[in-house]
Amino acid sequence: MKGRLLKGAVVALLALACTGMISAQTAKKIKVGFIYLGPVGDGGYTYAHDLGRKYLEQALPGQVETVYKESVSDGNADSEPVMRDLIDQGCTIIFATSFGYMDHVEKIAKEYPNVKFLHCSGYKSGPNFGNYFGRIEQPRYLSGIVAGMKTKTNKIGYVLAFEIPECIRGVDSFTLGVRSVNPKATVLLKWTHTWYDPAKEKDAAVALLDEGCDVIAQHQDTTGPQIAAQEKGAFAIGYNSDSKNAAPKAYLTAPIWNWGPYYTAQVKAVIAGTWKPEAYWGGMADGVVDLAPLTANAPKGAQAAVDKVKAQIIAGKFDVWAGPVKDQTGAVRIAKGATLDDKGQLSLDWLVEGIVGKIEK
């Protein structure tokens, strides 16, 4: 990374010295900055974004240059100097990939009206500031089908981070998928209150396994829960990216992110001058989210069941949030024939029938 930057700087200097001006080729190149919450090697959330960055570099050779900053905390204002630094380096597009960067992106976006800001998983926007996310609930529903078919004890464990709509959407859609094939199964929750603590996430999974769960799913950024499942001879569903190497005997599949095509489309739009800030929420039909290939650990018939629903989702014929959907008390929250609109999904604060656990108020 540093070597490449240095080389770039030397080339630029040489060009300057020879011709007295930057060559047309260099001037056209657009510089794109990425800010990540975790290290690029986390094998999870940040890793998935970084794959998108690499895809972008390959999709637009000679037209883009990318820079990334990893392990940037989103619990404080750390991201602000990082963004300024990226802009000083010449970045004109910045992708900030964690929820907590939102307010800081808003502030910096006002200071630099000529730089384009894209923020992942938030809801704020501005004239040069858009947000984007994906409907990971669709592949989560599909992974629920796999888990529902796999479980023998009819108890599925789910390790998740915080009591926010994003996590609640995830576990609700997962449970709907489970119960679509196995109405007797229940989903047990453990909240960790952290996105990234391998030991803690593993502990949570161990507690679930001790309570009799035989499939573990997760809304966490490390592979801790999957490793716990493998150690106890149980099975696991990952998250973020295909992580079959961490726990090959347990891993079934994972809902995954595929950011490359979206990043490429956005940068292309900026180059063409047609870019406008938007609130982008892509689904399986757009290719932003998907279900990782099922491994040999997956139950018989799961592939066919998943493929069927996946085709319907892509064709727009199946909606994860279509009623009737009951909550934990048995009350109908989404009526038959109705569906939960985007606004309802973004502020979701109740758990569906079949979940054993509660939302801390």
């Binding site: 290290p39 986390d42 094998g43 999870g44 030991a199 593993k202 949570a204 161990v206 507690a207 592979t223």
Partner: protein
Amino acid sequence: MDSLLVKFLAGSVQAGTPLLFATLGESLTERVGNLNLGVEGLMLMGAVIGFNTALVTGNPALALLAAMAAGAAGSLIFAFLTVSLRANQVVSGLTLTIFGTGFAGFLGQSLTGKVTPDSVKAFFTPIKLPVLGDIPYLGSIFFRQDIFIYLGYLTAVVLGFYLFSTRPGLNLRAVGESPAAADASGVSVVRAKYIHTLLGGALCALGGAYLSLVYVPAWQENITAGRGWIAVALVIFTGWNPYIAILGSFFFGGLDIVGFRLQKYDIKISQYLIDALPYVVTILVLIASSVRKSARNSTPGSLGEPYFREER
């Protein structure tokens, strides 16, 4: 089938083992009069070096030795600063934590997401001890664990014996209580401080190595997540006594994982409060131990003070 309670207690032993090693290491260091606040950094150094060695060699014994060497090297910096140069111990210790964190983060860049090799994992799978493992309840909790945990028990007992029942142990405690008196009676203060600070650092590093080699077992940045600081408080809680450190560490290990077990039941306490338990108890313990005084288990007299022979 063991009951949930037994499983929870066995889990507490596992969660408490990193704390046990770190507490033993820091107890030894403080007994000789050196307040080393670099435990968190030393644990991280041990975790990353141990993991890297396991990855390269696939040999668990080499991994443990390498981790200990890393911890000893880290505390050598501390010992040189505080014993030879007589720098402020608190500042030197904090610096060591910052250094260790950065060191581990830097070395770990290419390791993130990697998993402990199978040969090492196999070595650390739980083994049921003959006879002891068959004791009802206690057997399941203490004696069906992995070899690293048994090493923890052994280290604690050996260290306790060394401190309280041998001449070198007596000498090192004398150095910690009153270096001038020890010096006068012919004990080499500098040598005792160096040896035991390095040994203590090596033990702290083993605590970190347990996390990356056995507990998680994969490398993730900042894998200790503050456990080194809990160990510093545990030293006071356990009165610088290795035997009490065994129970104290497992008690705190239990506090660390109790939250997930309680989520199952409908308890009217906020989980955020339960998550904060280790820290709340730490504060309570510090208050309690500053009230209680006992001759055998109290702050070493010269703790935190540099020793100048000329000032005698």
